[in-house]
């Protein structure tokens, strides 16, 4: 997983919403700086100016009143600016919208692409691919407690509630990878509940979705075949799905195209064999309290299992 400072930042907008909010922020920021300098400056002068002489309380009171009036005016201006920005992206654009359903779990993100016929309904986890320049409508709900969906570079956050669907939308105006994270405290592993948004040019995106719609690849080497055995006869099938096999449980993330993702454990680890091995054998060391049990895989079976998982492009 490469160094991604800035890939999860309000200050580096990659979409219209984040862009406008960033603009609004700068307005507020400058107002704040000016107000602060004036206030504190006035205070310092008040301390160190030459005192004495007779007081003109009435003039002073007029000055104070004036300051009050100015405050009101400034706040009014900011209020308008904020309202304009807010209403700018209040409504989801109607044409050419792509739908994505997101279901929050303790502590990972389940992602659906419902625009495709049911039996090929694309399901993935912790990684959201979107086409550049096309608005995406998110339907957000939660499986357990309240989570909050937040990809700062693209837009503000919105909470996921059990038994309720919230709607958000955003759009990426340039290709790239951005990180998001759960922003509402949701228990033990709140800190490790991240996801990646990957914006690609439409053709690359279509390529990706076409691949995602396929069932999981069949093992091509005896090693991988043995790995699949281990997977299907082991504990894995109690929680995970690999479409095209008889592993169909939906407790944990869908692994049909696991190897096509960049990270595992909800954006906690880069996907490579070492991390995969660590995660499979003792997930509790990496994310204490998460729902993936430590699995005692005999050493002769571990390598094939990993080989199989890594083949699931």
């Amino acid at each position: 997983m490469k160094w991604f400072a800035g890939a999860q930042s309000v200050l580096d907008p990659a979409g219209p919403q984040a862009g406008r909010i960033h603009g609004l922020f700068e307005v507020f920021l400058w107002v704040a700086i000016i107000v602060w300098v004036l206030t504190v400056g006035a205070m310092l002068i008040a301390f160190w100016k030459k005192h004495g002489g007779e007081r003109h309380d009435d003039t002073t009171k007029r000055v104070v009143t004036a300051c009050g009036v100015i405050t009101v005016a400034v706040l009014l201006a900011l209020l308008v600016a904020s309202a304009v920005t807010g209403s700018a992206f209040a409504t989801v654009p109607s044409n050419n919208v792509m739908n994505i359903e997101i279901r929050g779990h303790q502590w990972w993100w389940e992602v659906h692409y419902p625009d495709y016929i049911p039996h090929e309904r694309v399901t993935t986890a912790n990684e959201i691919h979107i086409p550049v320049g096309r608005p995406v409508r998110f339907k957000l709900t939660s499986d357990d407690v309240i989570h909050s969906f937040w990809a700062p570079n693209l837009s503000g956050k919105l909470d996921l509630f059990p038994n309720r669907v919230n709607e958000a939308w955003f759009e990426a105006d340039r290709p790239g990878m951005w990180r998001g994270q759960c922003a509402e405290f949701c228990g033990l592993q709140h800190a490790n509940m991240a996801f990646w948004v990957i914006a690609e040019p439409p053709d690359k995106f279509n390529e990706w979705i076409e691949n995602q719609r396929k069932p999981g690849v069949m093992p091509s080497t005896p090693d991988q075949a043995h790995g699949q055995e281990v997977f299907l006869n082991g504990p894995c099938v109690v929680c995970h799905t690999i479409r095209g096999t008889n592993a169909l449980a939906s407790v944990g993330p869908d692994l049909t195209h696991l190897a096509s993702r960049h990270t595992i454990a909800a954006g906690t680890l880069a996907l490579d064999r070492g991390n995969l091995a660590g995660w499979v054998t003792d997930a509790q060391r990496i994310k204490p309290g998460n729902r993936m049990p430590p699995v005692n895989v005999p050493s002769k079976d571990l390598e094939p299992l990993l080989a199989y998982l890594e083949s699931l492009k």
């Binding site: 930042s9 309000v10 008040a46 005192h51 002073t60 209403s87 309240i146 509630f161």
Partner: protein, 641 residues
């Protein structure tokens, strides 16, 4: 013993008699029987600072954990308990109680009377607060610390996602502390309404008294909300009601609405008393009457009202309808106006006065520098789009620490420094004071300013760790260093206070040359506060009227005070206050038994109530000599009505 006519005229009093009737009982048993506002007030302050230290230690632990990415100092379970306890401690066990303590100690002295209106209730409130705090910390040390955040959102705090008794302990602690807050509010309001010295009409009430008056009203209407919702949560968890259970038609949003309907005023409940202290400090050290008294009072009242109208701005990210949101944006920005006006008034007072930069005023300067930043970031997050970005990030953490530490703790430290001579009769050391101020000020900004930037760079709050690749490490390390400087600053302050209380130079009755009547009585004040209740003839009596006429004819041989009317403080009647008694303590004990029991088994509520019956009867059982004349002739009351 009735004083001679001529003695009454001249206002000479039998001090030994006064002392006899007002002296608090001594010894261990005596400690539990004391009801003087001075003792109870000091207890509140000391206890609150002990909890402040505990909360500070928790803060340092969190900072250590976050000092570097993927630190393994604390496991997530422990971290969650620590940050929840930190928040709950600072809000419920430090900030509110310490302000109440200042109020309980100062208000009767400032309005010129000898005790609060309901001394026994006052004592009861303190014990409830103490037991509530001990209860929570007993849990924390037994690994039953709350771990759902200090606003305990359901369903995370519900029966399935927070098993065990952790959240029950937290919710019951709230019942304890809010009970104490409520009784203090009631007794302060009544004290201020009915027991002001003659002549202290509304327009002569000292600013801090106004502040406590407004704060108490806010407590009265905000605290019931949190008692209601924490009670509902307890029922949900223990007897299976469905208030917050979506499966049976309950709603997690209900919790958020009720909690924040309390939670937002809470901030002003902490902040308003600080405003009162600031006015006195600014006035004293600018050596001129405060400028814009009326404006200040009106803005505080406005703050009190608006404070109830903006709770929803904590819930912008929950997907509420647009229109409602913009209303609450407007309200949230509006609250900046009264605060701005007050800051302008203070600066103008300093500007037109002859300021001497003594340490209390230094703290106020620090307050303005810090609080204005907090206020302005507050204006930012009042705007829905900006809030959606920074909500629940470290930007918010920075914001509310700037508002609460800058807005409440700095004035509080200044206020303690300012009234310390009155409370102890000794002065704190100025050199050490200056040192502690600068340590606190610099440490504070190093700790919390970087958090703004961390938040903008996407760091959510309440994370026990973060990946090295996020690049958040350096600023977190900086913040941790700052936290330790800040801690040293507080420690120096506490040490300064401790040593000064033992062997500081003696302070006269009015070391700062301040304007209000609490400075007319010796330091430390006698148990009866004033040998003679002064008659108030101006807003700055000590400056305009140092030798005021006095109230005479109060019976020195018993705890008698003067009741005056609300508007103009004209004498209405004398009023006999109860003396030392053990019953409030015993009632607090029985109530505590009931409360703690209900956490495990609801029937304990009944047993607790039954137990409490005994101390209640003891409490209300008449102690004064019966008056045979009354029920026969009825003259005793006939004359009154």
């Amino acid at each position: 013993m009735t004083p001679t006519q001529e003695a009454v005229e001249r206002g000479t009093v039998d001090l030994s008699a006064l002392d006899r009737s007002w002296a608090p009982p001594q010894g261990l048993l005596g400690w539990f029987r004391q009801v003087n506002h001075q003792n109870i007030g000091k207890r509140y302050i000391v206890t609150a600072f002990i909890f402040f230290i505990l909360g500070g230690i928790e803060a340092l632990l969190m900072r250590l954990q976050l000092a570097q990415p993927q630190n393994r100092l604390l496991n997530p379970d422990l971290y969650n308990q620590i940050f929840t306890t930190h928040g709950s401690t600072m809000m419920f066990l430090f900030a509110v109680p310490v302000m109440e303590g200042m109020g309980v100690y100062l208000v009767p002295m400032m309005v010129g009377t000898r005790n609060v209106a309901f001394p026994r209730l006052n004592a009861f409130g303190y014990y409830m607060y103490l037991f509530g705090g001990l209860f929570l910390y007993a849990g924390v040390f037994l690994h039953i610390g709350p771990d759902a955040g200090w606003f305990a959102y359901t369903p995370l705090s519900g029966p399935l996602y927070d098993p065990g008794k952790r959240t029950d302990f937290w919710a019951q602690m709230i019942t304890f502390t809010e009970m104490s807050a409520l009784v203090v509010a009631v007794e302060l309001i009544v004290t201020i309404m009915k027991m002001r010295a003659p002549g202290m009409s509304l327009n002569r009430i000292p600013m801090f008294v106004w502040a406590m008056f407004i704060q108490s009203f806010m407590v009265m209407f905000a605290m019931p909300a949190v008692m209601a919702c924490s009670g509902m949560l307890l029922f949900d968890r223990s007897v299976g009601t469905h208030f917050f259970n979506p499966a049976e038609g309950g709603d997690p949003m209900l919790w958020q609405h009720i909690f924040w309907f309390f939670g937002h005023p809470e901030v002003y409940i902490i902040f308003v008393p600080a405003l009162g202290m600031i006015s006195h400090i600014v006035e004293t050290f600018s050596r001129r009457p405060i400028l814009g008294y009326t404006a200040l009072v009106l803005s505080q009242i406005a703050t009190g009202f608006i404070g109830f109208g903006l709770w929803v701005h904590h819930m912008f990210a929950t997907g509420l309808p647009q229109l409602g949101e913009s209303f609450f944006t407007a309200a949230s920005m509006m609250i900046a106006i009264p605060t701005g006006v007050q800051i302008f008034c203070w600066i103008a007072t300093i500007w037109t006065g002859r300021p001497t930069l003594k340490i209390p005023l230094l703290y106020i300067a620090g307050f303005i520098a810090i609080f204005v930043i907090g206020g302005l970031s507050g204006v930012m997050i009042a705007s829905v789009p900006l809030d959606l970005q920074v909500h629940d990030t470290f930007f918010i953490v920075a914001h509310f620490h700037y508002v609460l530490i800058g807005g409440a703790v700095f004035p509080l430290l200044g206020g303690i420094y300012f009234w310390f001579p009155k409370m102890t009769g000794r002065m704190m050391n100025d050199a050490v004071g200056t040192l502690s101020f600068w340590l606190t000020f610099i440490g504070f900004n190093i700790t919390f300013f970087p958090m703004h930037i961390l938040g903008l760079h996407g760091m959510p709050r309440r994370v026990y760790t973060y990946l090295p690749q996020t690049g958040w490490g350096d600023l977190n390390l900086l913040a941790t260093c700052g936290a330790f400087i800040l801690a040293i600053g507080f420690i120096v302050f506490v040490l300064n206070a401790l040593s000064a209380s033992q062997n500081g130079p003696a302070a006269g009755s009015n070391p700062w040359g301040s304007s209000n009547i609490e400075w007319s009585t010796p330091s430390p004040p006698p148990h009866y506060n004033f040998a003679n209740i002064p008659v108030i003839r101006g807003r700055e009596p000590m400056w305009t009227d140092p030798e005021p006429p006095v109230v005479t004819g109060l019976d020195d041989s018993r705890r008698e005070v003067l009741v005056t009317n609300t508007l103009d403080a004209e004498p209405e009647h004398r009023y006999i206050l109860p003396g030392p008694t053990i019953w409030p303590f015993l009632l607090a004990v029985t109530t505590t038994i009931g409360f703690i029991g209900t956490v495990f088994q609801m029937w304990w509520g009944v047993w607790g109530a039954a137990l409490s019956f005994i101390p209640l009867v003891g409490w209300f059982w008449p102690r004064e000599r019966p008056r045979p004349d009354l029920l026969e002739s009825g003259c005793g009351s006939g004359g009154i009505e």
